[in-house]
Symmetry: C2
């Protein structure tokens, strides 16, 4: 997606440790008009498949996933990172490690909202080590739903998540793949 590459080059900030900051338009301040274009890209790729639910994990994947859900006309479901009193007691759970936060936690989806009749498209903003997407795939499997594919805005091709998930036969569509992230330098695959 050329427009996305351009914004990453213009506004992205390559920080130490393979970190890419795109918080001017994607995961802190959010350009919602641009996210609609991003959602359209996922619609172009997955639009001919039957999808009943868009699944993501809080927090920064939520905006993209919401606009994708709107284009598909199906509910959004976001996995929660913390146990809360306003959550139902029966849920699917999977462990996740966050690379950017240096934290391990469990993500949870209420068993009420995912089941064998669902056809699920997972959407997230980043794919790097693949831990969040792995956790979401595990939850989809535990629920008996069908996993249609995974849509990612920015994949870090120099980290192994995308390769490993594709090797399991899952259809992963990333709008851009970053091959190398150096000292202020960003190179796309």
């Amino acid at each position: 997606m050329d427009k996305l590459k351009q914004r990453i080059l213009e506004e992205g900030n390559a920080a130490a440790g393979g970190i890419l900051r795109v918080d001017s338009f994607l995961n802190h301040q959010v350009d919602v008009m641009f996210l609609q274009d991003i959602a359209t890209e996922f619609m172009n790729y997955f639009g001919n498949r039957e999808i009943t639910k868009i699944l993501t994990v809080e927090a920064s994947g939520i905006t993209v996933a919401a606009f994708v859900a709107l284009q598909f006309g199906v509910p959004l479901l976001f996995a929660k990172k913390t146990a809360a009193a306003n959550m139902e007691s029966e849920y699917y759970q999977a462990p996740v490690s966050s690379y950017t936060r240096g934290l391990d936690y469990n993500i949870r989806v209420s068993a009420k909202y995912l089941g064998p009749n669902d056809k699920v498209l997972i959407i997230d903003d980043f794919l790097a080590m693949g831990s969040a997407v792995d956790g979401l795939c595990e939850i989809v499997k535990a629920s008996g739903a069908e996993l249609v594919g995974v849509g990612i805005v920015i994949e870090k091709g120099f980290q192994p998540g995308g390769k490993e998930i594709r090797a399991r036969g899952i259809d992963v569509h990333s709008l851009v793949i970053i091959e190398e992230l150096g000292d202020g330098e960003i190179r796309f695959r």
Copy 2:
């Protein structure tokens, strides 16, 4: 908003401790088509004011705020709850206590994305004790931006947040106010 009252009565679940579960359409599974109607209600109320940014806090306020931002044609900005390596080092910060999670934490907004030229509408899904909205107001003030108002989907009128924030002269618009939440009973103001 009658449609919202109806969905709360049909799908909401009053749990112990003044908790209202609306995770079938608002804060876990999300009915994105319905959220567009909700965003329109905020547009009807705040649409004649100049607004440059929609501000919320992760995670469950993000979907509503994203659709409001889309209708206003301005960026969404969501405060973060945890420090992350992909966040800039200069930020505004405020303490928040979560009633439903039983946690205290700091919320942060990068100083790059909020300043004296901004006119801010705060959007959140719930208003109860008011701690999250208080924290967001504190961040708006620290940045020098103008606070235009606060839009809330569901206010718990039996908890003091709404009253206290209105008493400071802030324009709080809640789409529904719940007066009483009992054993399976929900009564609106």
